[in-house]
Symmetry: C2
Subunit: 522 residues, 2 copies
């Protein structure tokens, strides 16, 4: 008797024979094992109206899979609409490798409803769907398997189903007001659904449609679809993995060095005097503060990215920037090697998650560009991966800027000689020794490779919406002032707002005489 | 020259000699090493008004410490006031062991301002401060070092300082409207501050007060206070650690077994028929749904905790519960062994963090009670730790219920024989094998110890605000129905709301005849 004590595990109306149930459950549990072993992330989308079989499929999977490796996601439409960066939530919710994430409402929900109700036209729908495609492509490229199932149910059936629920006092809670509302324009939903499926049915993330009919039949098809797709993709993935590794070994040899272009435009001798620095800093700090307050007023946010060789002075610049704003308005993220959990996600995930609960100013001390810098040079990423990353990064930043963010990127550059001086200083100063390790010396040996990588990065990701500024930082004072100045100028341009009236520039005599400014400092 | 290129690292007005700067910075960097090594968390509170030296101290520490092991926190008062659970944010923000968290606004900010403006009276202030004390005690007990510094500045000095800032176009951005407002009632702030300091100056978290005066002097004192306190506490901590380990070995032998009380009250033979189950389940599901919607309407939330021996049927019960609500309204957390990051925090941290972005219903499949169950029995926690945990847990749940949560706890219990039957069934079923491992068999050997631990847990944590319900679950159907029934009853009582009119109970004939209910199921 105990052997079958769990046979009543689900109370939906589908009727699998005990034999079939055993088969399916065994298959599902084995599949979870394989997913864990292959260390890939699985994403299952269950779409469709109430009563279409979507919820039955969800319930079955929730009961039959090992919950420890299962995440369930559903969203309130209002929550999604409130976030200016549409995909932030979805990115953060992507399952870690080894896990399966089931989404019962997803990135398709809002486009579907908005279009069905005529709130967006076809062009706008397709634009939104482009985002869905790109998102899915990114995930598949970082070893996720996506399985998308759409459960259909025609208007008559929907009506009958909702009526049946409504008349049963124990089931009518399942009917939400929107169910009836949506049912009334079921034709619109059907036509939008067709468009969505046609436009987003991709090799890397195909749709499987399940027509209405017997529930057991639909459920059987859904479970089989899920298992088959994931089994097949894991097999392919494991095959490709070996091949990729070999390919990459070949390609590594082909790296050829070229002289970096960006350096030619830099004046590495640029410097400013201590007096000028002491005068400019408070001025720029005040100016930056005013500009950031204006950003806040407009309900926007600022994200700053800093890259540059070791000891190029990123920390010092960031510290000056940060001192122009209250701590509660600013988050600084020093980015080190990814943790194990972070490695088990798409490389952008750890940046997306740091962008939830965003403060007015977010500063990254080293960034997602690690993908095309250290990961490229140290071969932590395959050539395919880092070459693809430029586009992925541009798209990431595009989403941020579309979502009420101003994104500015700084490359702080020093010469190899200057780095040596700074390394030595660090070694000789007790409290700076921690700043220098064997890794820094190793990176130094690859100076030219980094120059080349910087060059490619600047060429491919210096976009209108998220520009790069390259700062010659051999003279730290110059670098700090220059960064703050360029940042102020960019913000002024973006906001079309000039704070000069409130914050007049210091009236320095150009001929090098002492600064006149009576009101400053007692 | 390069050697001194970083000498201008800070632009505040304090003037340390180069020699003193070197000494302090070396001490700070060495201290961070020690914190890392001892693997403790350090919490530094910097309190005081604008210009008191608080910000200078923060700036110095931000520049001189290694940022990778440093977290800065400041809060908008509105954000804190919006959260019904006051300390949730602070708990989530406690630094991981090895790190230092600097708080420039903290759990004292809101009580201070509220009291200074007469929004709360003395009693209310002290009540709030009790929470602060308990919070700090919890952290110190889990190996945190807390250093609290209050920078004083009297009214005249404040006024002079604010005037000086206001007159400088480059500095006036530092003056917030509230600064003047607060300055006007500086006497109130002073008197509230005195009360706060007196009431929360504890051995485990003492205050150091820094009087106004020369900035360099104040900064020197602050930095020295910080270093001295942490150095001393680490030394003590390392000494106590050895002692504790020895003590605990002694104490382990003293465990004596007693017969568990709670079992005596259980009818382990309780069961219901399949028919009754099939009728009751949709009824209770509907009833629970209605009650949960009422919870939502009242802007409250529900947290359920499930404990019980392996194979006691927690998953099955939770699945039934969850099927009475839409996925978007429900989060289920299966709790396994803590991760490395979780281990490096207070044991409650991993539950606090799971309670951010709370959904209507949150279910924990195994819970914080692991501290007084598996951790007690397997000696993962010292006796001191788990004995203290009962109170910590009660306080945790108190905070949740005060913060608009309804907390209900279920212990699903089975007999040892029934467990054996279920273990065997798991072993014999291909798709259930993953549910059973050597750990389960090991736990089984400690059955009596678990009984005793359950008994203690029930005795010490069955509070009015977060009660336990013990469910005899030898018959799974009975256990599921019973759990849902008790949960419904508890919610009805808590909400003082009876949904019977909308959800009439099934009209079962008591004499065992077939159920009459024409309208149900086609």
């Amino acid at each position: 008797m105990a052997h079958h004590s769990e046979e009543d595990d689900i109370e939906f109306e589908a009727n699998f024979s005990s034999k079939e149930e055993t088969e399916i459950r065994t298959r599902l549990i084995n599949l979870q094992e394989k997913i864990k072993e292959a260390n890939i992330a699985v994403i299952l989308l269950l779409c469709g109206v109430n009563g279409s079989g979507k919820n039955a499929a969800l319930g079955t999977l929730r009961d039959w899979l090992n919950q420890r490796y299962l995440d369930l996601h559903a969203y309130e439409r209002q929550d999604i609409q409130k976030d200016p960066i549409e995909f932030r939530r979805y990115w953060c919710d992507t399952p870690v490798n080894g896990n399966t994430g089931i989404f019962v409402s997803s990135w398709y929900s809002d486009p579907l409803v908005s279009h069905a109700y005529g709130k967006i036209n076809d062009d706008e729908l397709y634009e939104r769907l482009d985002e869905c495609n790109t998102f899915e492509k990114n995930l598949v490229d970082s070893n996720a398997v996506i399985c998308k199932i759409w459960f259909h149910k025609n208007k008559n059936e929907q009506q009958a189903f909702l009526h049946a629920l409504d008349e049963d006092p124990y089931e009518k809670w399942r009917v939400m007001p929107d169910d009836w509302k949506n049912c009334c324009i079921a034709e619109n939903f059907e036509s939008t659904t067709k468009k969505i499926i046609r436009y987003t049915d991709k090799d890397y993330a195909p749709w499987v449609e399940i027509e209405s009919g017997d529930l057991t039949e639909r459920l059987r098809k859904a479970l089989d679809t899920f298992c088959s797709r994931v089994e097949k993709q894991i097999e392919l993935f494991l095959k490709n993995k070996e091949k990729k590794e070999e390919d990459d070994k070949e390609k590594k040899k082909n790296n050829k060095e070229k002289k970096a272009e960006f350096i030619k435009k830099l004046d590495m001798e640029a410097s400013i005097s201590k007096d000028e620095y002491k005068e400019m800093l408070p001025y720029l700090r005040a100016r930056l503060n005013t500009l950031l307050m204006e950003v806040k007023k407009r309900n926007k946010k600022v994200i700053l990215a800093f890259e540059g060789p070791d000891a190029s002075g990123k920390g010092g610049v960031i510290s000056r920037l940060a001192s122009s704003i209250f701590v509660r308005d600013c988050n600084i993220f020093p980015i080190a090697a990814p943790t194990k959990e972070e490695l088990n996600h798409n490389f952008l995930w750890r940046f997306w998650t740091r962008l939830t609960d965003q403060k007015l100013l977010t500063v990254f001390d080293r960034t997602w560009y690690g993908r095309v810098l250290v990961e490229r040079i140290e071969h932590f990423a395959t050539q395919q991966e880092w070459k693809r990353a430029y586009e992925e990064i541009n798209h990431f930043e595009k989403q941020l800027t579309k979502g009420r963010n101003i994104v500015v990127k700084f490359l702080l550059y020093i010469t190899k000689d200057e780095q040596m001086k700074r390394f030595k200083a660090r070694e000789e100063t007790e409290y700076k020794k921690w700043k220098i390790g064997s890794e820094d010396w190793r990176n130094r040996e690859k100076w030219d490779l980094y120059d080349e990588a910087f060059d490619d990065m600047l060429e491919k990701t210096n976009t209108k919406y998220a520009p790069w500024f390259v700062i010659a930082d051999n003279n730290k004072k110059y670098g700090r002032i220059q960064t703050m100045k360029l940042l102020c100028e960019y913000l002024e341009k973006e906001l079309d707002y000039d704070p000069s009236e409130d914050i007049p520039p210091p009236d320095t005599e150009k001929n090098g005489e002492k600064v006149k400014k009576d009101k400053k400092k007692k």
